[in-house]
Amino acid sequence: MNEEEQKHYVRPAEHPNFVRSVKGTGTSVKASTAEALAIAVVLGMFSLFFLGATKVLMAPSASAYQVGFVTVPTGQPIPYKVIQSWAFGNVTIAEVELPPGPLPKGVFVPQSMMVYLAPWSMGTGTGPYATWYASDQYLSVMHYNPMWNGSGVTVAVIDTGIDYLMPNFAPGKHLILLVSVLYKNSSNGEPIVWNLQQNDNLTALYNFDYKLFKEYGHWAFLDTAGHGTAVSSIIVAQPGLGAVQGLAPGANLIMIKAFFGNGTSSLSYVLTALQWVYNNTAKYNIRVLSLSWGAILPPGNPLNIAIQQIESKGVIVVAAAGNLGNIPGDVSYPAALPGVIAVSGFDCYTGQVANFSSIGPTLNLLEVKPQFTACAVNVPVLFPPYIGFAGEVRDPYDPNVTALSGTSFAAPAVAAVIADWLEYYHFYHGAWPTQAQLMALLINNAQHLSYPNDLTGYGIPLAPP
């Protein structure tokens, strides 16, 4: 962004109105008297419980309008007042105001507009430091070969931003672009962008960012949660600059900031970020999209439609399965979406599935979900030095390094290995693989832990030989 653009760039993107609404559901069962009685008693108990609870907790006021999402073919008029819309090729998703009253058909009204980072935790630090503070852990587990380091592949990450002041990310060389959907360019309504390849003056970038923070309360690009920095370090942290090295240090990284410092965002912000990816796939050669967040949503939600559209452009989407525990069927969206590569968490020290990791199956019972697993317990990562937590454990030899746990840190490892495989495939075939070809490569070269299952998937994907 040049100075001229900076002058008239910005208005902060506003928080959407969070209007809670209750979507009624009905169940009708035809059965003989005895069965009907038994079923009615059970369903009645549940209905009373849920309706009672939701009525008390989530009743909208009489005058409140509801916010919903509709999906229509692009160009088709939308019969409601549109708050915001996102075009994904031939499909347009619109956030609309719905009048009070019964819910029209075909409208998605989320119980909550919020999207969360999968809850993550600091490493316990109970073991000897030597067991976690070096990134040798996942480099060796995933058989990293420096010959294939993701060169020529761009990985996009939608997260909390990045600590661009860390030299480990090689700003301008491998960290090529910063995008923020928290602010909009007033001239075209697009998210603001800082192209580090064109302007790698980090002081200017920081000053610009700080100015926004002072004026509107949010840093546009800087990571104030630490999550995005940690995730990015697993992908692209440069070798020889500390204890942590990424699995694809030759890849280009685009960080799209769509989450606030407290780790929350909304469907609107996330859709804006996904639309930016969709519109810029070709321009920046985005081949992999890494998502370390999720939400419990019904299958027909707009997030899924947006991600399907991105996949249709040949982008491989990798998502964290979630940290809701080993409860069958708790993989959150977008990881649960067919076609998205979901990654569960594995404890590489004990050789067991992490007890916080979400596991399958999903509605599509025949699909193995999550597809892969990767190190997610006490993973050594880069973490901004200006963020502190009670009880945090830092590497005594490198204060920028700490250990974190969560499937958030397994997904980028798989995304990075995919970047390595893409480079490998492109080198030998002169073309990018399709998703099916890539999956075949990953599955054939994975370290199979057992038969394919919904806890460890096809195993740990290994880097190219």
Binding site: S32, N326, F346, P361
Partner: protein
């Protein structure tokens, strides 16, 4: 008391209680499992009803509806059993997962029993009505099976 009630009731009560408990426990983390558990309460509740009051005849439509719903749920529970068994060396086996595994086994048994009965109805076999009478004098139960032709 234990001698006066058929053992099926204890199995079914355990299955029903566990299904309700798990449905509530996982409601916000795994709506899919919660729905499966809610559906799984039906075979247990029906079996309890049959054990105590007697088994009514069911229409073919009802049997077909049961088959369709229960086959999906059966597949889901079989998948859970498969996953836990296959990934056993890598699973940390939390208490909740063990409960879910046990409930899956119970549900598979109950659903399989229901499916067999539904198959009888769909294939036009004579409807078999089971009546369970508790004989309070001799402190044990007697099961009478009355066959009725179509």
């Amino acid at each position: 008391m234990a001698k006066r009630l058929p053992p099926d009731i204890f199995f079914n009560l355990t299955g029903l209680g566990l299904a309700i408990y798990l449905a509530i426990t996982v409601l916000f983390t795994s709506p899919l499992l919660a729905v499966a558990m809610i559906i799984a309460t039906a075979p247990f509740a029906i079996d309890i009803y049959e054990s105590v009051i007697g088994r009514p005849g069911i229409s073919r439509g009802t049997a077909l509806a049961l088959v369709i719903v229960e086959i999906f749920v059966l597949g889901f529970f079989l998948l859970i059993i498969y996953n836990v068994l296959v990934a056993l060396p890598y699973s940390s086996l939390s208490f909740l997962l063990i409960l879910i595994f046990l409930e899956s086994v119970f549900s598979v048994y109950a659903i399989a029993k229901d499916l067999r009965e539904a198959y009888d109805v769909l294939s036009g076999k004579p409807i078999v009505l089971h009546y369970v009478n508790i004989d309070r004098e001799v402190k044990h139960y007697v099961k009478e099976v009355c066959q009725k032709s179509e």
